[in-house]
């Protein structure tokens, strides 16, 4: 990869991480309501998976969606405004944190029901296939989703119809407070997916390079009419399931262990190893991220919600 590309990766990671931190801060200030699920720690999965996508490919995922939106090219101001519930949020404040969505980015949400996005991913791929477009669908979900009925229906159908879906399982080992061993008879997510007859990959989700390499192969296969494949990205979320979760089910040692494998310092080190990049360059990127996020928060703070009369707008299309 080129240096400029890697700097871009670094930027996206800092942006995603920084956005989540800002979201946490604004949540504790009461500016963000409801549930807020933060991606901190998993940045390499989203960025690695999406790195080789085309603009016209489709992305769909779960409620832990801020990073998907931003990495896909979404505007941090519109994301933060949506979290604030304001009319200039990407969904006019009607969706909130769990339901970011932007068709112009081919990012189709943001779903609160675990595995609810999986059948919809099948439909997106079906349309692409029928219209003979060679776009693919990237579908994100967690380890918890792999026990849902709808998930299995979706994987079966995608394989049956040879649809261009890349299933990305963010195995961060916990579904709220229930760990994989306590919930899954088959602890290997990949093994469960293999039963549907598709190629499976298991990858270190804290490592951007490995992640993007595996994703590149899966995406190319899907695009070449090779049907769906499955990527199990082993990763870790540094924060609780959501802002309300103190994550007491994880030991401090475990968290520290995973923090030692933080994708951002790893990436920085890798860049420094391969290229001549000084601290001031990284600092410049950091400053840029801070600027962008300050602007996003200012934008959100200055905005306001839709008036109550609009509560029945946008239910039906003409």
């Amino acid at each position: 990869m080129k240096k400029s590309e890697l700097i871009q990766v670094y930027y996206l990671m800092r942006l995603a991480r920084g956005f989540e931190t800002r979201a946490a801060e604004q949540y504790t200030k009461g500016r963000i309501g409801g549930f807020c699920h933060l991606y901190s720690g998993e940045e390499a999965v989203a960025i690695g998976a999406m790195w080789h996508l085309r603009k016209d490919d489709y992305v769909i995922g779960s409620y832990r969606d801020h990073a998907y939106y931003l990495v896909r090219g979404g505007d941090p101001r519109k994301a933060m405004a949506e979290l604030f519930g304001h009319e200039d949020g990407c969904c006019k404040g009607k969706g909130g944190s769990m339901h970011l969505f932007d068709p112009s980015l081919n990012f189709f949400g943001g779903y609160a029901v675990v595995a609810g996005e999986c059948p919809i991913a099948v439909g997106l791929a079906k349309a692409a296939q029928m219209k003979k477009e060679d776009r693919i669908v990237l579908c994100f979900f967690g380890d918890g989703a792999t026990n849902q009925g709808a998930y299995h229906e979706a994987l079966n159908m995608a394989s049956l119809y040879n649809l261009p879906v890349v299933w990305v399982c963010e195995n961060n080992y916990y579904a709220i407070g229930t760990s994989v061993p306590r919930s899954s008879a088959q602890e290997s997510m990949a093994q469960k997916a293999r039963a549907y007859g598709m190629p499976v990959h298991v990858v270190d989700g804290m490592d951007f390079f490995k992640m993007q390499s595996v994703a590149e192969r899966a995406i190319a296969a899907a695009r070449a009419n090779g049907g769906p494949s499955f990527i199990e990205a082993k990763c870790y979320r540094y924060r609780g399931h959501s802002m309300s979760d103190p994550a007491t089910y994880r030991s401090k040692e475990e968290v520290e262990h995973w923090k030692s494998r933080d994708p951002i310092p790893s990436l920085k080190k890798a860049i420094q190893n391969d290229f001549e990049v000084g601290e001031e360059e990284f600092a410049a990127v950091d400053a840029r991220v801070t600027q962008v996020l300050d602007e996003a928060v200012r934008f959100a703070e200055a905005g306001h919600e839709l008036p109550p009369e609009s509560r029945i707008d946008d239910i039906y299309a003409e």
Partner: protein, 325 residues
Amino acid sequence: MPKITYREAINQALFEEMHRDPAIIVFGEDVALYEGSFKVTRGLMKEFGPERVFDTPISEAAIVGMATGAAIGGLRPAAELMSVNFALVAMDQILNHLAVMRYMFGGQVVLPVTIRMPGGGGHQLGAQHSHSLEVHFVHTPGLKVLYPATPADAKGLLKAALRENNPVIFLEHEGLYNLEGEVPGEMEPAQIGQAAVLRAGTDATIIGYGAMTHVALEAARTLESLGLDAEVIDLRSLRPWDKPTVMQSVARTHHAIVVEESPPVCGIAAEVAVNIYENVFDQLDAPVERVSGADAPMPYAKNLEQACIPHAEDVVAAVRKSLGR
């Protein structure tokens, strides 16, 4: 005018609309090769090919989710759930995804999805196969719900559903598939949200839908021989439903009787009744009468099942009770 069955009318609507719009695809369990468990999709795969008409596994959630995703991707899916009873497996995808997504995403997506599902009881199919679940869909903002009672309406309303840019739940009654009726060969789509006055009358207004429309008409004939003149309204469209037609009628007759096959609690009849009270209270000479199915799961034994479904005599009794005659 040619006379065809309700089943054939739906089939015709699918044929015509699929010719008209290449974006329409039809899928569901056994709809393609087997031509439909009720033979409604007969001939479709042969005509339009296995790309546009295909069979799915038994995966109701994925069937509905696939319809939703395909709609985002630019197609106009017409999925079939083998019966409304199996829709329960897909309720999350219907009520919690399909119905809410346009709104939740700030109006950024259009979902022209039609989900066809036959329902209703009366054939000794037992409690799990005999539900009338329309109320769950009618209750949910974001959906439109249609329920034709006649072959002509089955064709007209399905054409309308397939041209509608919003999710439509299209309910069919299993007991009506063989019902014959006049259906024009060339037909414009019907108007969604419009009821039909099937019989004009002056003494009481009977409101029904689906199979119960025919029960209402039979009751009206019996009432005529008793010297009572009932007006019969077929709702046809349950969400949205035609309030003006119903209110105008009740304002004239002063007596309203609503018939539904489902159990009564929080049903369509309750919805219609409350709206009547809200709109034409001062014209009422008696409380609105509801004739509903029994408040019980559907039993298997033939006599018990028949006792759980409204019949014409129940409607006649309700009309007479309202009139005090």
